[in-house]
C-alpha cells in the first residue's frame, strides 16, 4: 500500500494493487450481500409458513365451529315436542312449519328433509312432492347415521337436484320421549357456501386454501374446480404421509404447470376427519422478497462504489505527494549540485579527478578545478582525457602515482605528505589527499605549500637562532654569577686582611708603646679599633645578606610556635628574658626552609629586643593566623617604633632609622628578612609610630608545593649555588 515501500516504480505498483483491491472488495461485498439475502430468505420462508399454519388452524377452527353449530341447532329442533308429535303423526304440514323456522333461523341450512326410522322421506323443505314417500335407506348418510344414531356430517356428494353441485349432508336422529328413534332430520348444504365462512379471514393472495373430506376429496378450494364434481385432492398421498409423520408442512412438486415446488400446510378439522390445507408456491415467497433483495443489492453497490472512489482518491493523493516529493528532491539535488559546483570552482585547494585505465596502470584526467589549474599551470580543456603521467611526469618520483594505485585498489584514503614536485614546468612543494569516489574515480585534493614550506624553514632557522641566543645568554649569566661569587669571596677574604692588620697593629701599639703614646694616643687607637670591628660586622652582614640568595630552599613543615620560642631563647640572654614580657599565641604551622626562617625570627626578635624603650616594661607579642592560602605571622613590641614617613626605607640594605650611638646594627637585618620571605613567595610589612612600638608581619604560602613553584619560577641567579 505505502508508496514509501515501493519507491522504484510507484505508479505501476499502485495501479496493479488498485485493480486487485477493487476485485477483492467486489468479491467480499457480493458474498456478504448474498449471505444476507440467503439468511433473509430462510427466515422469511419460515415466517410465511408459520403464517400459513396459523391460517390453516384458524380455518380449521372456523369450519369445526360451523359444523358444530349446525348440528347443535338441528339437535335443538329435533327435541321440539311438537315436531316429535308431528313425526309420530307423520304430519308433514306441521313438521314443515318447524323446518321453515329452522331454515330461517340459520341461513347456512339449505334443504331440510325428515325421514322415518326406515329412511322413508315424509317431510321436506322446500317442498319436494316428487320425493315424498321415497326411501333413502340406501344412501350413505342413512347408513352412517343409523350406525350409532348420532349426528353425522357426510363427505362431499354431488347433489342430484337443483344446481347439482357439491354438497355436504348433516343428519341428526330424532328421538321420542322413550328414546326411541322415530326419524332422521337431514340438512343438505352447498359446499360453495363454505366460502362465506372465510370472508372475514384475511388471506394472503399468494396462498391457496383447500378443504378435503374424510375421503380426501376436495370440499372447498380456492385453487381447484370442485363445485360440479367430486375430485380427489391431487397431493393426498403426500398429505397423508405428512400427517402420519405429524408434519405440519410438506413440499410437493407440481406436475402442472411448470413443475414448481409448493409448500403445503395441513391441519385436521376437529374430530370429523376433514382437513384444511394452505398451499403456497415456493417461488412466490422468493418473489415477495424482491424489494428487500433489491434494497440490499443497491446498498451493497453504493458501498462498493464509495470504497472504489475512496481508493481512487487516496491513490491520487499519494501520487500527488509522491510527485511533490520528487520535485522537492530534484530541487534539493539541483541546489546541491550548484553548491558543490561552486565549492569545486572556488575552493583554494586544487582538486583533480582521475579515471583509472589499463587496470590501474594509468590514470587520465576527468576534471580539474580552477584552483588546480592555477596551481599546476594547466588548462582544463587541454588536459581532460590525458594521462597524469603525460601532464605531471614527476608524480612517479615523489611516490604519488603509487598512492593513486593503492587508493584505487583498496579504496582507503591516503595522505601524501609535503613533497617537492619537480618536472620541466613546475618546481613546487605539494601536499596531497587522495580519495576514491563511489564511481571508482580517484580524487586528489592538493595544495601548493611552497610558501608554507619556506615559512616553516624560516621558523626553524629562527628557532635555532633563538636557542643559540638562549645558550649564549645563559653562559653570560653563569659567568656573571661566577664573577659575583668571586667578588663576594674577595670581599670576605681580602677586605678582612687589612682590617685585621689595622686592628692587630693598633693593639700591638697599645700594648708595647702605651706609655709613649699618652692618653690621647691610646684613645685614638681605641677609636681605630672600634671602627675596625664595625667594618668587620658590616662585611659579615653583607655576606650573610648575599648568602640568602645563594643556597637552595629546602622546604619542610615547621612548628612555628616551637621555633619562635627556641629562637627567643637563643638571641636573648637570661637577663634580657627576665626584663621582657614575651607572649606567643598558638601559631599555624608553617612551611618553608627551616634554616632561613630561623634567621627571619632571629632578626625580628633581635630587633624587637634591641629597640625596646629604656625603663618601661618591654613587651613582645607574637601572633599568627591563616587567611586563604597564606599563613600570616606578626611580632609586636612596645619599643621606640619608627617614623612612618620612612617606612619605605625599613627593608633596604644598610638603611638605618636610628643613630649608631643609640642602637647598634648595620641595617641589614630587615633586608635579609625581606629577601628570605620573598624567596618563599611571601610578603613583609611593618606598622608603627615613633615611641609607640612597631609591628612586623610576614606571610608564607601554606602549601609546600607553592614554595617549590615560586622557587622554580623565581631567583635563577641564586639557584644552584650550593657548595
Amino acid at each position: 500500500m505505502s508508496e514509501r515501500d515501493v519507491p522504484v516504480n510507484p505508479r505501476f505498483m499502485k495501479r496493479r494493487y488498485l485493480a486487485l483491491l477493487i476485485v477483492a472488495v467486489f468479491a467480499t461485498l457480493s458474498t456478504i450481500t448474498f449471505y444476507i439475502c440467503y439468511q433473509h430468505h430462510a427466515i422469511h420462508t419460515e415466517q410465511t409458513l408459520k403464517g400459513d399454519r396459523a391460517t390453516a388452524n384458524l380455518l380449521a377452527l372456523i369450519l369445526d365451529q360451523h359444523f358444530k353449530k349446525i348440528v347443535s341447532v338441528m339437535e335443538s329442533y329435533s327435541k321440539r315436542p311438537l315436531l316429535l308429535q308431528a313425526a309420530r303423526d307423520r304430519n308433514a304440514e306441521k313438521a314443515a312449519a318447524h323446518l321453515i323456522s329452522l331454515t330461517q333461523s340459520e341461513p347456512d341450512i339449505d334443504i331440510l328433509i325428515i325421514t322415518d326410522r326406515k329412511g322413508t322421506l315424509w317431510a321436506a323443505y322446500p317442498g319436494r312432492p316428487e320425493v315424498l314417500g321415497k326411501n333413502f335407506a340406501y344412501r350413505e348418510w342413512y347408513q352412517d347415521v343409523s350406525r350409532d344414531w348420532k349426528p353425522y356430517i357426510s363427505d362431499v356428494v354431488l347433489r342430484v337436484v337443483r344446481e347439482k353441485d357439491l354438497a355436504v349432508q348433516i343428519s341428526v336422529p330424532l328421538f321420542d320421549e322413550t328414546g326411541e328413534v322415530i326419524g332422521i332430520m337431514l340438512n343438505t348444504q352447498r359446499a360453495i357456501g363454505l366460502k362465506n365462512l372465510f370472508t372475514d379471514v384475511p388471506l394472503d393472495p399468494d396462498a391457496s386454501i383447500s378443504i378435503t373430506d374424510r375421503k380426501d376429496q376436495i370440499a372447498y378450494s380456492t385453487r381447484y374446480d370442485y363445485e360440479k364434481e367430486v375430485r380427489p385432492y391431487p397431493f393426498r398421498s403426500a398429505m397423508n404421509k405428512a400427517m402420519a409423520a405429524n408434519n405440519k408442512t410438506f413440499a410437493v412438486e407440481e406436475s402442472d404447470p411448470g413443475g414448481r415446488t409448493r409448500y403445503i400446510t395441513v391441519t385436521p378439522v376437529g374430530a370429523i376427519g376433514w382437513t384444511v390445507l394452505v398451499g403456497r408456491d415456493k417461488r412466490s415467497i422468493f418473489l415477495s422478497e424482491t424489494t428487500y433483495h433489491a434494497q440490499v443489492a443497491a446498498i451493497a453497490f453504493l458501498l462498493f462504489l464509495s470504497i472504489v472512489l475512496l481508493f481512487v482518491y487516496a491513490r491520487k493523493q499519494v501520487m500527488a505527494q509522491e510527485t511533490l516529493k520528487q520535485l522537492q528532491a530534484e530541487k534539493l539535488l539541483r541546489e546541491s549540485e550548484i553548491r558543490f559546483r561552486e565549492l569545486f570552482g572556488r575552493m583554494m585547494a586544487g582538486v583533480a579527478v582521475y579515471e583509472a585505465r589499463d587496470n590501474g596502470e594509468d590514470f587520465i584526467f576527468n576534471d580539474i578545478n580552477p584552483a588546480g589549474e592555477s596551481i599546476s599551470q594547466v588548462k582544463r580543456t587541454e588536459i581532460i582525457g590525458k594521462s597524469v603521467l603525460e601532464i605531471f611526469p614527476g608524480v612517479n618520483d615523489i611516490g604519488l602515482f603509487q598512492v593513486f594505485q593503492r587508493v584505487w585498489k583498496t579504496g582507503t584514503a591516503e595522505h601524501h605528505s609535503v613533497s617537492l614536485y619537480k618536472d620541466k614546468r613546475i618546481f613546487q612543494w605539494v601536499e596531497n589527499d587522495v580519495y576514491r569516489l563511489p564511481s571508482g574515480e580517484i580524487v586528489a585534493v592538493y595544495a601548493d605549500v611552497t610558501g608554507r614550506k619556506k615559512a616553516e624553514d624560516e621558523i626553524k632557522r629562527l628557532n635555532a637562532e633563538l636557542e643559540q641566543r638562549v645558550i649564549d645568554r645563559t653562559a653570560q649569566l653563569e659567568a656573571a654569577n661566577k664573577e659575583m661569587e668571586a667578588f663576594s669571596y674577595s670581599v670576605s677574604h681580602d677586605l678582612r686582611g687589612p682590617l685585621r692588620a689595622i686592628d692587630g697593629f693598633s693593639r700591638i701599639l697599645l700594648e708595647e708603646y702605651s706609655d709613649t703614646l699618652g692618653a690621647e694616643g691610646n684613645r685614638l687607637l681605641d677609636i681605630i679599633r672600634t671602627n675596625t670591628r664595625q667594618m668587620d660586622t658590616l662585611i659579615t652582614d653583607l655576606l650573610a645578606f648575599s648568602q640568602v640568595l645563594k643556597s637552595a630552599l629546602t622546604v619542610s613543615r615547621i612548628d612555628m610556635t616551637t621555633m619562635v620560642n627556641s629562637m627567643y631563647h637563643e638571641i636573648a640572654s637570661p637577663e634580657v628574658r627576665q626584663r621582657f614580657v614575651f607572649t606567643v599565641a598558638p601559631l599555624p604551622d608553617g612551611a618553608g626552609d627551616p634554616a632561613l626562617l630561623r634567621q627571619v625570627w632571629s632578626n625580628l626578635l633581635s630587633n624587637a629586643v634591641k629597640f625596646s624603650m629604656p625603663g618601661d616594661e618591654p613587651r613582645i607579642e607574637i601572633t599568627g593566623y591563616t587567611k586563604k592560602e597564606m599563613n600570616i605571622y606578626s611580632i609586636r613590641d612596645n619599643g621606640v617604633g619608627f617614623n612612618p614617613a620612612y617606612i619605605h626605607k625599613l627593608f633596604g640594605v644598610f638603611q638605618r632609622l636610628h643613630k649608631t650611638d643609640e642602637f647598634e646594627g648595620t641595617g641589614v637585618g630587615l633586608a635579609i628578612v625581606q629577601r628570605i620571605i620573598h624567596r618563599h613567595g611571601g610578603r613583609v610589612w611593618a606598622e608603627g609610630n615613633i615611641n609607640e612600638g612597631a609591628t612586623f608581619s610576614f606571610s608564607l604560602p601554606r602549601k609546600e608545593a607553592d614554595h617549590a613553584r615560586h622557587e622554580a619560577g623565581g631567583d635563577s641567579a641564586g639557584g644552584g649555588q650550593s657548595p
Binding site: 677574604h493 686582611g497 682590617l499 685585621r500 692588620a501 686592628d503 697593629f505 670591628r533 668587620d536 657548595p723
Partner: protein, 148 residues
C-alpha cells in the same frame, strides 16, 4: 730558615702583616720555637715534598703542624691541601686552615680534602691571639702524631 732540625710549624701565609701577627701570637704563647714561613702554595709544596729550594730536606722530616692560608699566589691553599693529603708520606701531617674566608664552599671543600681544623681569622686581635694559642697548644703539645 732551613736548618736540619725538625720544623715544628710550617706557616703558609702570603700577607706579611698577617704572618707577622700570627708569629706574634705564637710567640706570645711561647710556641714559636721552630717556625718556617712560606709565602705561597708552590713554596709550601716544595718544602713539604723537599723540592726546589728545599731539596736538601727529607720528605720524612715532617712538620708537627701546617698552618695554611687558603688564598695564596701561584698555588692556592686548597691545592696545597690536596697535594699533601694525596700523598701517603705527608697525609699524616696535621693541617690547620687559618683564613679570612667564611665561605661555606671553602670550609666544606677543606674538610672533604682532609683538613684537621678550620679556623676563621678573627679581625679582633685579642680573639686572634686566643685562637692561635688554642691551635698551637692543641696540635703541638696535646696531639700525639703517629710514629712521632
Amino acid at each position: 730558615m732551613h736548618d736540619m732540625k725538625q720544623v715544628e710549624i710550617l706557616l703558609v701565609e702570603d700577607n706579611p702583616h698577617d704572618a707577622e701577627l700570627t708569629l706574634r701570637a705564637l710567640k706570645k704563647n711561647n710556641l714559636a720555637n721552630s717556625i718556617t714561613l712560606v709565602a705561597d702554595g708552590e713554596e709550601a709544596l716544595d718544602f713539604i715534598f723537599a723540592r726546589g729550594a728545599y731539596s736538601e730536606r727529607k720528605v720524612e722530616q715532617i712538620p708537627k703542624v701546617v698552618i695554611l692560608d687558603l688564598k695564596l699566589p701561584k698555588v692556592d691553599g686548597l691545592e696545597v691541601l690536596r697535594g699533601m693529603k694525596g700523598d701517603p708520606r705527608t697525609r699524616v701531617i696535621p693541617v690547620v686552615v687559618l683564613t679570612s674566608s667564611k665561605e661555606e664552599s671553602d670550609i666544606v671543600e677543606s674538610y672533604r680534602l682532609g683538613v684537621n681544623s678550620y679556623i676563621v681569622k678573627p679581625v679582633d686581635f685579642d680573639k686572634f691571639v686566643a685562637a692561635v694559642k688554642d691551635l698551637g697548644l692543641y696540635w703541638l703539645l696535646l696531639n700525639q702524631p703517629p710514629g712521632a
